[in-house]
Symmetry: C2
Subunit: 557 residues, 2 copies
């Protein structure tokens, strides 16, 4: 039971990210004010045929739009910002708050969506932003993008601490470890509830420092006799910095391919998140005039995305860069689950073209941006929360993270393994799950948001499995006789050379069936349809053991 309005409370509602990797979004709400932390997207899984992206359901926000004060963004990754264009279309009055680089990444994204004016507010890590009864402090943490922050949200009932995505890198590239002292101070003041990144909660030990990648790059650069091509995520500013550093050190020049990467390099340099020495970066056309051993090219496509720079290079479909024997290609990422096949397809194709391909974490050309168990334990010990909600992970990860919390002294009863949509409420007296709101997927397909439901996906699955067959007949309703057809049309069922023969057979079978029908049955369109469907489905199954979608159409003329 939710608290009555007279009792001061703070509610925490994860709308996404609890039970899946992606579409992270959390609501924090007091009696008078509500803020949202992050608004991400998720990429559709293989069962969601034709779906472009998956976002969160905004119903809970809609119902409380009058007290929605701000969207706070922890960092600029798709799974934390990808839903913002949909959010600001609906809540255009709500300020979007984050560090400069985070906002730059959101703006780049918004341009594609042709949004109107958005009330962006820049914060510097260490600053507070106050929204009614909620005081939000942004605290610097390390992650695989610059400008990442944890949030200390002080409310009348107590402090909610949200780690965002983080790792503790003791030797980060930008020289700025996470702000341990501020985190510790928040912990000392007392934290009511902590929400923390669970991505690597099943992984023992400590995530390696980003600096390790630099050492790996250094060895790769020392060995390479030809061009070096590095693929990574466009937003991974620390990784870009490392490629730049090695380029400079080994006397090479660099070109950045692709608009998203060029954008990030541009913003991040301007904002001081990236140190790009003058004259090091060139356009690809200029770069190509240099000998191969002076060339570095950075590109996207580390997930094997079919339209990305790297995937196109791998099949000689890239307009401007042609892979040749002697090129070294570094895939500086690990495949996100579900992308393995496309990543390895790209790597195989690059090998076939004669490139030397370095990939995976084996060569240490990639490290994770998320904290492993030892760092998660350290965060728990610094913050010492009364309640704990693991977020950002599949159930198995949240579960593992919950167990870690108990090990640091959090009461097992105060650990909530939440599902999307769970309404957690904290007062001066208790902390409990008091309700459930809709926390499911909203599928975006073309311009339709949320209009692709289970029925449509079920149809697409059926169509994908065995194709579709239609039979069309025109019937003179008065005389109860066939005036045209039956015509049979199939897509995705029969192989062409023999399709004509099969279709003829099916037509013959249908014609025979129609001729055998009584005048009364012929007058009833639904009976004719049923007969057509049955006859056709059986004839196809007998011949092929396939069960396509069968659609009978009867035209009464």
């Amino acid at each position: 039971m939710p608290a009555p309005p007279s009792v001061p409370y703070v509610r925490v509602v994860p709308l996404g990210g609890c039970g899946e990797i992606g579409r992270n979004m959390t609501v924090v709400e007091t009696n008078d004010d509500m803020i949202v932390v992050d608004c991400g997207l998720m990429f559709p899984d293989e069962e969601m045929y034709g779906v472009d992206v998956v976002i969160n359901d905004f119903s809970y926000l809609r119902q409380r739009a009058d007290r929605l004060r701000a969207l706070l963004v922890t960092h600029g990754h798709e799974d934390h910002i990808g839903g913002i264009p949909y959010f600001v279309k609906e809540f255009s009055h709500v300020p979007v708050v984050g560090t400069a680089l985070t906002l730059a990444l959101i703006k780049a994204k918004s341009r594609e969506h042709k949004l109107g004016e958005v009330d962006f507010r820049t914060v510097v890590p260490g600053e507070h932003a106050v929204f009614g009864s909620i005081d939000a402090e942004f605290i610097h943490v390390n992650h695989s993008v610059a400008g990442a922050c944890a949030l200390a949200l002080r409310t009348p009932v107590g402090t909610i601490f949200h780690t965002g995505d983080f790792k503790f890198d003791q030797t980060p590239i930008d020289g700025r470890p996470a702000d341990f002292s501020r985190i510790a101070r928040v912990g000392e003041e007392g934290v009511l509830c902590m929400l923390s990144d669970s991505t690597n909660a099943e992984r023992a030990g400590h995530t390696l420092s980003e600096r390790v990648v630099g050492e790996a790059f250094s060895a790769i650069f020392a060995r390479a006799r030809g061009r070096i091509i590095v693929a990574s995520f466009a937003s991974n500013v620390p990784r870009i910095q490392q490629v730049i550093d090695q380029t400079e050190r080994f006397g090479r020049k660099i070109a950045f391919l692709g608009r998203s990467l060029q954008n990030v390099v541009h913003f991040a340099s301007e904002l001081g998140n990236l140190r790009l020495p003058p004259d090091l970066a060139m356009k690809l056309e200029q770069l190509e005039e240099l000998p191969p051993e002076q060339i570095v090219v950075m590109t996207t496509g580390s997930q094997g995305e079919p339209m990305s720079g790297l995937a196109r290079m791998s099949v000689r479909d890239h307009q401007r860069l042609r892979i040749v024997a002697g090129d070294t290609v570094v895939v500086s990422a690990t495949p996100i689950p579900g992308n393995e096949k496309s990543v390895y397809r790209t790597i195989n194709n690059l090998c076939k073209l004669g490139a030397i391909v370095v990939h995976g974490t084996d060569g240490r050309s990639h490290v994770s941006g998320h904290a492993s168990q030892e760092e998660l334990l350290l965060m728990l010990n610094l913050v010492r929360p009364e309640f704990f909600v693991p977020v950002h992970g599949e159930y198995r990860m949240l579960n593992a993270h919950g167990k870690l919390a108990v090990r640091t002294g959090v009461d097992a009863e105060n650990v909530f393994i939440a599902e999307d949509g769970d309404v957690l409420e904290f007062t001066h007296e208790y902390g409990d799950k008091v309700g459930k709101t809709y926390g499911g997927n909203v599928l975006v397909d073309g311009s339709g948001i949320g209009d692709v439901g289970e029925a449509v996906l079920r149809d697409r699955r059926a169509l994908a499995g065995d194709g579709i067959v239609m039979v069309v007949v025109a019937i003179d309703a008065e005389e109860a006789r066939v005036t045209a057809g039956p015509d049979v049309i199939a897509r995705g069922v029969f192989y062409l050379p023999e399709a004509d023969g099969v279709l003829d057979e099916l037509r013959t079978a249908l014609r025979a069936m129609l001729e055998s029908m009584s005048v009364e049955s012929m007058r009833d369109v639904s009976t004719v349809k049923e007969h057509l469907r049955d006859t056709l489905a059986k004839a196809i199954y007998t011949r092929t053991k396939r069960r396509p979608v069968v659609i009978p159409v009867v035209m009464e003329v």
Copy 2:
């Protein structure tokens, strides 16, 4: 250019397994005789909508059926035996040769396919089987199934050595390391060409011994307070042995769930490949009368296959076993690329039910059955082949394996990174690629073998992406006027609540278009179709930004 018939030759033709993991099959052919090594299947990738399994093209065998003497099978895994039911349907006179357990696994499979008599011939490792000019020696190796063999194929031109799938396990569960002395002797005699398993050619070091899994199991069994459920591949006899051993050691009893697993336990015990103490195995019904701490259940589903025992348990859909809090579930396998999502879905669901889940190689509850680089190098040094063909892998693995061979002294020019269908020829004078035969996929869908072509898959992809819309009109050809329709039927495009409204709008647009057409255009069916298609496609795209398959049907009455 192939050699003339007067010159003694041996040809090696990989029909599958070179460029992919799966559908392994290699032809070895002299002037007079031909044998086939293995005949596997591959599971369809996510783009092969509706396809059940993928097998190899038998055209090369068909053209030379008169000299096809035998199918030699190295071991009983699906990717080496799965195509055999299709093979024996076509080449029923050809003997199928392998060790007892391998043949038992094939027979279990054949029963599902209702085959007639097959000429099975059992060999014991160490034995020779002679087929005309080809003398095949079966040599014991270690792998994640018992009864695995390498093959030394002695021909008039020289010896072809095929490793099959292997690892060098110095402390195997059955106490029998690979037959080093025979392999070394074959090497000393001189090997013309070696074909070797490349699965782990990118992995440094040595694959861990199967015994390591036993140690992990021992720790898991010691910790478990409730029931223990272990999921693995049904054919992994060494793994089954380890579960049996720990069951006995910790005073528990075991039940095997699922027909395939029960079959394997039955064969393997009878054939002496598995040591199952009397009274240790029970039926599940009996087992359930014991206290939880005495219960072990072994099942399939380590790949998250939706119909498998483990997947059903994870969603409480298993008729006979209900997961409860306190159960320990061991997923003793790693996900095959492409299966990650289903494996983790199963693990998440098991965690939600309160099970303690041990998975992945982290806990050492699984080790690979394939040789890593140090073992591959050892094999190369034992066999010292003149020519080398890495097989059983994606291109990147074959490529890495080829480089290992060069490091052991094989001439780089004598390493063939072959593609499926490459015809490699060896005479006393040379070894070279002399031709190319069809080595592509044959897709099996329902009862159709090879009749699902690119066109059908393209159609299914289009249908899966955005669904299908049909418009049907009946036209009086003489009067050039519409007598019924237009009717619009859609599947997988519009969400139901609003579908009716959309379909009405589309019908109205189509009616208006038809009314605006001239009498001449109306007389031409193909013009009417084009107009219908254009109008419909545009109206749908404007409204939804989707591009379904659009099919116009015009009935002339």
